[in-house]
């Protein structure tokens, strides 16, 4: 890297943030990342000395809810710090420049920081009709994304769109919307999935903080999600869990159980199958989260959550054989047929036996 880039600390000072607030931020960041307070000085040191990492943030088929979430990161410093900490060189949605001037920044970043910038993708690329369903800067988005990926150091898949496909990839997926890691031609670079529709703001900012301060990728689980935020299910830390174990459920939304705050399992809560940090970090600055507001978790950070039947059904809907049924309906039908066949077989066996006995006599 030929050009000297400012460090985070320099940027912060330039923005009028005091050293005291800076150190406070470092401790909070350490806490958010689940590190011991001893790490705060390390974060501070890294921020004082390391150049900011350039980030290109591209947008494909999506609704910008990830960006909306990100810029609302509640921690007062987080959004300022993160936004100044990374050098967010390109982001269609929140950048000031537009048109060719804006697009030129992509080329400039590739040229200057080849192999050293982070590529953040919000949304995904449709492969149908050679990518024509999503045109960005006059070209299919898929081409832009795969080309830029060749020069990045790592790729962050923001949200369920980039991570799994989300609503635009729901059956029958007419545009063949495809998540980042499944795109043919995507560079063989580490891909960090930060799923959710949208992901929690503090999760997004903390993932970036971790990468820039420690200069390495967060530890990922087998599905490519940072373990520090996606290693537990909503259910594991849900405050209604006591009612689950007791067997106290909301049966319908206006019943006594709903008023008493019983477990939402029977009205389709996907908390037991959803890996995310909502029940610990919560939303809107720790104000609340869906279950706390009385609504079951819909499992928005899980692969294919649109295609698993109703949000309000406990049992997953199974498509196929031209019908829509759940495991019990399919299984009970099969068992019924088997039992019926056995009964008929038994009947015929008895009749035959009596008939053959008659022959013998």
């Amino acid at each position: 890297m030929a050009q000297r880039i400012e460090t985070f600390y320099e940027v912060m000072r330039r923005q009028g943030i005091t050293r005291r607030s800076f150190l406070k931020y470092c401790s909070l960041a350490a806490g958010a990342l689940g590190l011991s307070p001893a790490f705060a000085p390390k974060i501070a040191e890294a921020m004082e000395n390391k150049p900011r990492i350039p980030v290109l943030w591209l947008h494909g088929l999506e609704c910008t809810c990830c960006s909306e979430s990100f810029i609302r990161s509640a921690h007062p410093l987080a959004k300022d710090v993160i936004l100044s900490m990374i050098s967010l060189d390109f982001d269609n949605v929140i950048m000031a420049s537009a048109g060719e001037q804006a697009l030129a920044i992509i080329e400039e970043t590739i040229e200057k920081y080849d192999g050293n910038f982070l590529l953040a993708v919000e949304g995904n690329a449709p492969l149908g009709e050679e990518g024509m369903y999503c045109i960005s800067g006059g070209k299919p988005f898929v081409d832009e994304l795969t080309r830029v990926s060749q020069h990045a150091r790592a790729i962050i898949s923001w949200g369920s769109c980039a991570s799994w496909g989300c609503v635009q990839a729901a059956r029958p997926n007419p545009t063949r919307a495809t998540p980042t890691h499944k795109l043919p031609g995507i560079a063989d670079k580490p891909i960090i999935k930060v799923p959710g529709c949208p992901p929690i703001a503090e999760v997004m900012t903390s993932v970036i903080t971790y990468m820039v301060t420690f200069d390495r990728l967060p530890e990922l689980d087998n599905q490519g999600r940072p373990k520090m935020f996606y290693s537990q299910r909503i259910h594991d830390k849900c405050y209604r869990r006591g009612h689950f174990d007791a067997g106290q459920f909301v049966e319908s939304f206006d019943d006594e159980g709903a008023r008493k705050g019983y477990c939402l399992y029977k009205v389709g809560c996907k908390g037991p199958t959803t890996y995310n940090a909502c029940s610990t970090i919560k939303w809107n600055g720790g104000l609340s989260f869906p279950i706390e507001a009385g609504h079951p978790c819909i499992g928005c950070s899980e692969d294919g959550f649109w295609d698993k039947g109703g949000f309000y059904d406990r049992l997953t809907g199974i498509k196929g054989f031209g019908i829509d049924a759940n495991a019990d309906q399919i299984g009970a039908t099969a068992a019924g047929i088997v039992a019926g066949a056995a009964a008929i077989h038994a009947g015929v066996s008895v009749v035959k036996r009596i008939a053959s006995k008659g022959d013998d006599a």
Binding site: A246, V250, T273, D303, I330
Partner: protein
Amino acid sequence: MTEIRVHKEEAVYVYEAPVRIWHWVQVFAIFALGVTGYLIGSPPPSLGGEASDWFLFGWIRYIHFVSAWIVIVGFVFRLYWAFVGNPHAREIFLPPVWRASFWGGVWHEILWYAMVAKEPRKYTGHNPLAVITMHVMYVWGIVFMIVTGLALYGEGTGMGSWQYEWFSSWVIPLFGQSQDVHTWHHLGMWVIVCFVIVHIYVAVREDIMSRQSIISSMISGWRLFKDDRPVDRD
């Protein structure tokens, strides 16, 4: 016509005690798993009052897990017994699918159940159709339930636990996501239910209609024969 048929009852010891004990223990455990598993998918009506008053759903899940461990340990033991037990202990694990005569036997059994064949063959062990059904639906069915079950269990014990590292970590991505594992585990239950319906029906039917003892053999271990013509296959 009036001659008295004497047949020498040459009994054979087929099912050793450990196999019999294992069979009946897992009958109860699998029954408990089916009932509690169904309730995990469709819980009983909500109870009232405070959370501290009850632990009903906790108990349902607890019984599921205890029975699951009985089935797992039992299955591992049964697998071990296939190595050290008598040749009959190996039948359901190693059907001789490479032998044409085996398939001939399967076909004959199908004809027997289709009531085309007039007389069943005589076996000391299981009949070939039973062997193949038990191998596919029971052995692999239980392996499937154990693997998917441990993957779901690992979600509760959490990352870092052996259940998670050995099972959940690869089973969940294999099926897609946790919800899909639940669905397949649930469908697996119905496969076992279908097996059990057929198994019990056939055990009763063959007890009456075949040429050897069936149900009493799984209790005493001894196979008795109803005629003295030679057995078709050991």
